[in-house]
Amino acid sequence: MTVDAVASRAGATGQAYRQQALLGPANIAWRYWVIGFILLLMPVAANSFVLFQIFGWAFILGMIALSLMFLGGYGGMVSLAQMAVAGLAAYMLAVFGTSGVPQVSLGWPWWLAVPVAIVIAVVFGTITGALAVRTEGIYTIMITLAIATAFFYFVRQNYTIFNGFNGFNQVLPPHLFGVDWRQPIPIYYLTLAFAALAYFLVVYVSRSPFGLALQGVRDNPRRMAALGFNVTAHRIAAYAFASFIAAVAGILLVWLNAQVSPGSVAVGPAIDILVIAVIGGIRHPIGPFIGALIFVTIRTFALDILVSFGIPGERFQLLVGITFLAIVFWSPDGILGLWPRARKWLASASSLTGDSGRAL
């Protein structure tokens, strides 16, 4: 049972029941246990390629897409600048920390470089948000796309800070607790832990007073303004929070990849993040992770899939594009939207026979 269902049941039976229902591990739905166990025990079954190239990437891209999902799903603002925020955090870590470009990197220890990088990225994301909230709907997409592109051109041209076309390589995670965090199993658990944290943080914030007010702003900004909420401030705060998640993901991205270059923040990757969030479903925080898993799997195995259909292997974008188109065309809520749709369809099918579909 989802917590939403618990909450609605609590509405019928009163406040005390609700508090009881949310306490203790016994009330966590069984599917959370199942998914948690599968993810924790994954390294037993999967080889290091799958752990590193598929799950590592999926968790990180999923986190960036999660920040977009938070803005889009709860705030009603679709921002294409999230990849730029993550990329800026990655760049800043390379600039302040250590990298293979010693003439630029300052060589600070990681515990200082990481927070500074995150703060700078969050400030950048918040300023982007402050600009973007001056506009609505479709304009937001265009403006954030333009900002992301400007960022891409800027890092490609700037050699004093961003090292231009080459970017930075050998940006490695610290050897903390005697573990090399770039090995497949450590990085799997590292990215899993941060992805889970980000997921629960988003779930928590979405039910906090701020998150509820934000959803109110999404649904009816005028009414919220009339109720005394500062609509602009809520929206900008949403950008700041989303930028934080994207910035953390950016740090993990540069550790996983060991390098960051203008290609990481180009228009293509920025749109990939939107594709991931939409494929998975933009209404629930789990959607981006599902989308990321599908995206990364397609990207990794595109060659084999396409060759088996007799199409040249380099047509990966075509496969992703067609998958994306099919999903937006038939299920605007992504993969997550398919389940309620299927239920509705099954229910309506059985209603033909007079059965109201109660079996479901």
Partner: protein
């Protein structure tokens, strides 16, 4: 004009002084002091002409985009792909038949047909669903870009202009005076001047069509209030298809133009999509004069930027956009929403 002067006397004065300064800079022989600061006059004039020509190209792309958006509130993020289809079709036609002008006709028709299909299959089904339209058109542009890469390969193509447009032309503008007292005149490729004039002609024709014909009247009424227009009995879906086909066809023509004086290559679709986004954001969504002014500003900014601050010229255009958004979010010619 007098209206503007009465309302904003200070701004009108600034605009007048700037315009007079530019006119002086174009026609005069520069004194040595100015050349020390700004570089050679030839460089300045070339940047100016290239900027205006680039602005003309941006206007062709962006006017279709803004027309479609203004009337139907459709955000067609596949507009850049339409531009590129136009470029490739134009190249194929010009290379096989050798007729440059035929390339324009074929590109216009082919891309306009694609536009009709898009309007019927995509936009009509999702009227009013902004986000879904955006997503679907992003998907279409991904698919189209990869299909074009598949068919045409990753090479760069240039559409060859016919011979009667080849070569440079001497303009009656003095760039420098030799020590012997002989004046040096500016030369500029003929084909670019022709493209510039043709874009201006298309812009004027569009303005006339919008303001002086019945269909233009319907389109303007639709921009203002399309529900009311359809309530008066106008078959608004036909107007939509027509406008969409025309806007897409303009992008196709722009593709041929761009392929002639620059080149057609993978990645141009995103470049021109972004250029038209910035142009319409700066100029104001849905406004044809706005598209013209925005395209001119962005084209000039790009060219002057690449001459005077070469490293960050691309960022300059985005800075202009940010400045416009910060002070006038609806764009220079946009109406307040």
């Amino acid at each position: 004009m007098t209206d503007l002067i009465q309302r904003h006397p200070a701004w009108s004065f600034v605009i007048f002084v700037v315009a007079a300064g530019i006119v002086w800079a174009i026609f005069s022989v520069w004194p040595p002091g100015l050349e020390d600061v700004m570089g050679k006059k030839k460089v300045f004039l070339n940047a100016l002409f290239n900027g205006v020509t680039l602005g003309a190209l941006y206007f062709l792309v962006a006017s279709g985009f803004t027309l479609i958006f203004g009337l139907m509130k459709n955000v067609n993020l596949a507009h850049g792909s339409l531009y590129m289809v136009g470029g490739y079709v134009g190249y194929a036609v010009a290379a096989t038949t050798g007729w440059w002008l035929l390339a324009f006709v074929v590109s216009f028709v082919v891309v306009a047909l694609i536009g009709v299909v898009l309007q019927y299959v995509v936009f009509r089904r999702m009227e009013g669903e902004d986000l879904r339209q955006t997503l679907v058109t992003i998907g279409i542009s991904i698919v189209l870009a990869d299909l074009m890469l598949w068919i045409m390969g990753g090479n760069t193509f240039q559409i060859l202009a016919p011979e009667w447009l080849g070569g440079p032309m001497r303009l009656p503008l003095v760039t420098a005076v030799k020590s012997s007292g002989e004046a040096v005149y500016m030369t500029y490729p003929v084909v670019r001047l022709v493209i510039l004039l043709a874009s201006a002609a298309i812009g004027i024709l569009m303005w006339l069509a919008l303001n002086r014909t019945r269909i233009g009247m319907l389109v303007r009424a639709g921009v203002d209030d399309r529900d009311m227009l359809s309530a008066t009995g106008v078959r608004i879906q036909r107007v939509f298809v027509l406008v969409f086909a025309f806007g897409a066809g303009l992008a196709g023509i722009a593709g041929v133009v761009g392929g002639t004086f620059q080149s057609v290559a993978p990645g141009e679709d995103t470049r021109f999509l972004l250029a038209s986004l910035v142009v319409v954001i700066v100029g104001g969504m849905g406004s044809i004069p706005g598209a013209a002014v925005g395209a001119l500003i962005i084209g000039l900014a790009e060219q002057f930027g690449s001459v005077y601050f070469p490293t960050y010229s691309v960022v300059l255009t985005f800075l202009i956009m940010v400045a416009v958004l910060a002070f006038r979010p609806q764009g220079i010619f946009g109406s307040a929403r």
